[in-house]
Amino acid sequence: MNTNNVWELAEAYLAGTLTAAQDAELRSRKETDEVFAAEFNDSINLINSLHGAGKQKRFRNMLQDIQLQQAKPKRIINFTPAFWRTAAVAATVALVTSLINYSIINGSAKRNNADYTVISKQVNAIANNQKNLNKIVQDSLLNKKPVAPPSDVRRTGTGVALTNDGYFVTAYHVINDGNGDGDSVYIQANDGAYYKAFMVNYNVESDLAILKVEKKNFQFNKGEVPYTFVGTKAALGAQVYTVGYPKDDVVYSEGYVSSRNGYHGNKNQYTLELPAGHGQSGSPLVDAHGNILGILTAIGKAGESNTYAVGSEEVIDLIDNMPAGKKIKLPKGNKLGRLGREDQISRMENYTFSVKVYKK
């Protein structure tokens, strides 16, 4: 380093990358050379101010952006072509019903009792029918089924249920890829329906996020989740498999633990010899007994089949540090232990699903 350049020195000083020798030299120079000391201090202050001002500016821009998003109408129900047919039928039924009502009222003077019952039955039937249709329309609009999410899907990943009542875990980068986009998250459950979810806890370092499905009384499936999260490290060479959603259908792949530590020796990760692709972030890493060892987060270089997974210990850690009022109790019993692989997977499938992140 050219120690004559005060800026290089100042930058290294602020970044904490000065060696002990350089640091000592800097100190003695500051003590002996007053002009240099003043210049150095001004430089430090200027860099700090520039950084602070820039950081604040970016923060203000972000606030403005958030405000703009908030200002948009909260909920626009897209009247997609899929609903036109139901809506049209409902409207026609409503029209027919009102016409029939009209004819009842008009014809009441010379009504024939037998006709009347029949008609009213019909009216009832139609009314019921209409009610049903309304309900279907409402259901599809408000409660269930493709409430076609806001717009194009940005990212997809896989989620694993933590509890049956709607908590699940996935990779943090699925939810937030670091471009600072606060997007809406939906899961597509196995019945094809979309459910909106929100984040309750996350850890950027371990790359995990815990979310919850918004809908009240939501259940992934009948009964508690059948597997357990195991925080202890699996042995080298342990046979593992995963199920995830690189496409709309669930995909199974298997492999083995190839290294106890992960990327660059990360102790909280596993390295796996396991083929995986985009969209499988957040998939469960399962051992032969149906224990979840970790969550898939990354793959190695193209051409290698290295896959990295965050150990379940980190998941448990995140659950232990949940915000107040949002406690998760993981089920203790593993109901998959005695099942064959196929049966394990078919049970597992009910609790893993595609996570889709949409642009707001």
Partner: protein, 192 residues
């Protein structure tokens, strides 16, 4: 004494880094309440957003220091700051504040709490303004180059490409020259 809960502390740490999710969480939690108070007290929609964002910036500035302490919940803090900023603005506009509606959740010293935080905030703003006016005076390409690096958080590689330097090292040399000019300008402006 109030102690920020773990999750709140975590949220604030993320906020300090400018994390979008954390910022949005706080925004969505607090803005509706504060906005409704501001509207009741005579602000417009635009004013409300403006005041609230300013209070978020005050909080952002406060949590930058590693040893910050918040003696109340995030919401209470933002509410107090927003109120304070709004009263100041009304005073500037020579308008009487409307009737105080909801003071629940306030400390004893309600409206005038965190005066010190606000003073620090205003000092910082003045400082940044001086810096920006110095930046405006140094001329191109220095202004754009420093803005790209510090404001837009671009890397030296990107800057070298954007500004047509043959390599990042050259861009860096130029950056140092610009910094020297800025330092000279800034501290003479300050000395005046």
């Amino acid at each position: 004494m109030y102690n920020a809960t773990n999750s709140e502390q975590q949220l604030l740490k993320a906020l300090a880094k400018g994390d979008r999710v954390a910022t949005e969480t706080i925004y969505k939690q607090q803005y509706p309440i504060i906005k409704s108070w501001l509207l009741k007290n005579g602000s417009s929609d635009d004013d409300a957003a403006d005041i609230f964002q300013e209070s978020m910036v005050v909080l952002f500035g406060k949590v930058q220091s590693a040893d910050f302490t918040l003696t109340c919940a995030v919401g209470t803090y933002l509410f107090s700051i927003s109120k304070n900023l709004w009263f100041k603005r009304l005073q500037q506009q020579q308008r009487e504040p409307g009737r105080l509606y909801d003071n629940s959740g306030d400390d004893e010293d309600g409206g005038i709490a965190y005066e010190e935080d606000l003073n620090i905030h205003h000092e910082r703003e003045a400082h940044f303004n001086q810096l920006n006016s110095a930046l405006d005076q140094i001329g191109e390409p220095c202004r754009s180059l420093l803005q790209a690096f510090y404001h837009k958080d671009k890397s030296m590689q990107e800057i070298a490409a954007d500004f047509g330097y043959t390599n990042p090292e050259n861009a860096k040399t130029q950056k140092y020259k610009c910094l020297t000019r800025l330092r000279k300008l800034f501290y003479t402006v300050q000395a005046k």
